[in-house]
Symmetry: C2
DNA sequence: CGGTGTGTTGAAAGGTGTCAATGCTAGTGG
DNA sequence: CCACTAGCATTGACACCTTTCAACACACCG
């Protein structure tokens, strides 16, 4: 049982932020009692509509996006194994963006009320939810600098390095290679570029020997060089632990 | 005394999200016992350094920014009256961005431990902090769509309309006019443009009769037209209330 | 076997950046 | 009261990154 607890991706993630008590681990596990499979291209959350559930990703990729009045699309962020989707169902009624499955996925569905309950019953876990919201904000902030003040080449390299880190954090990277089920068009909408220019930028990265990208798999060959070339500083992804001093109630 | 409570900007802001009990109002007021004046151009928070305080703005403007390795600057968001600065001191050790005062300011300094205490002692207020973090995230997400998928003209109009809304929310707008202590260069760094092109874009907005902008004051003349022209949908700023069901402890 | 989605390439147009210079205003000090 | 400076706004010419439009290649799949 202790083993199950410690391999669970969500518990792993929370454990980076604070040292969980056994009771807290049990609460987290109990929230994950309703898993289901979702086929690729499904919308888990729709912009402007009410949240139905909060999800935890156990397997697969998704991405957040917004549709603009002018018909364009802007993607905000990827959602990977261990990430929440629709966490703000806790405090918002309606979603500010949509979330679409990029691959077939396995997710845990959680009724928002159960997460709200943490604020009364497990303040340390509630604070960790705040922590997750803050980290999501940090990623969005870094994404703004990518789009606002970097060239297409640098944006792309920077995003790929972020993803490498994030996928590493859930142990899905082997020697700088990982599954990458993302079309060039989705990348383009993520980075504020056209699909055509995305293609040319990827070509440039390949020509420089920085990456290999074929089918649904990517390899970052010259990690340090790419990092220096695009000015990637991963500190915004670093996990700082939660301050002491929040008394547990559970 | 009830009057003091109800004119306090922070209490006003929280009241939009949930119906505060008298005890909760007292807690919020008690946090604001240490106000001080900050001169313009002061950095309240510095990227990469430890948080010292969480601030509530009582008067004045500030803005969040990041400095990039290539020497450029990207501004992420403005911070207005009633906003938090350094809220994540609660859950993060170090700041992900810097915050600089744009004008002389009056702020309340709060030791982070006191906010952490809310998670144990006032869960509804803790949830509201989560709500604020989520709303900040929504604003950042909208900012990404601005920069990623809009022209310079649309970006600028969209941002100005957001600010009009936010300044209205703290009752500092009179017939679509408000104090606007922002240089063109800061706007440019906010919107991912050069100062030169920012100037030309503002000129275009003026020529179209959309705005008047001279010195430190702005007037939005054709609010509805501008809104239609740039595709501004303010729903992401709307205040949805906190769900019921969080039991208060305080 | 013919769709459909995705990747690829070329040529031309255009939005935005770069560089450089000037004007303007407020503040400072002689 | 007048230089002098610093910060900000403004303008022009030109380069260049990115978009747009269009066409084609390729793989997968029912």
């Amino acid at each position: 049982m202790g083993n199950l607890k410690d391999t669970n991706p969500w518990i792993k993630k929370f454990s980076l932020v604070l040292e969980l008590t056994d009771i807290e681990k049990d609460i987290l596990l109990s929230l994950q009692d309703n898993c289901e499979k979702i086929p690729a291209k499904t919308d888990l959350v729709t912009e402007g509509e009410e949240f139905k559930y909060t999800y935890i990703i156990k397997e697969g990729w998704a991405y957040h996006y917004k549709l603009l009045a002018n018909g364009r699309q802007q993607n905000l962020n990827f959602a990977l194994c261990g990430d929440f989707i629709g966490l703000y169902a806790t405090v918002f009624k309606k979603s500010e963006d949509s979330v679409k499955a990029l691959t077939d996925m396995t997710v845990c569905k959680i009724a928002p009320e159960r997460i709200i309950g943490l604020f009364s019953n497990a303040p340390r876990l509630a604070a960790t939810i705040c922590w997750v919201a803050a980290r999501d904000g940090a990623i969005l902030g870094e994404h703004i600098t990518r789009i606002g003040r970097r060239t297409a080449y640098d944006r792309t390299g920077h995003l790929l390095l972020e993803l490498l880190r994030r996928v590493e954090a859930v142990s899905l990277v082997q020697s700088n290679a990982f599954e990458f089920p993302v079309t060039q068009e989705i990348l383009a909408d993520m980075l504020g570029l056209t699909a055509v220019h995305m293609n040319r930028t990827i070509r440039a990265l390949k020509d420089d020997g920085m990456i290999t990208l074929d089918g649904k798999r990517i390899i970052i060959h010259k990690r340090a060089e790419l990092r220096a070339a695009v000015g990637f500083d991963p500190s915004y992804l670093q996990h700082s632990t939660l301050p002491k001093g929040i008394k547990g109630i559970a």
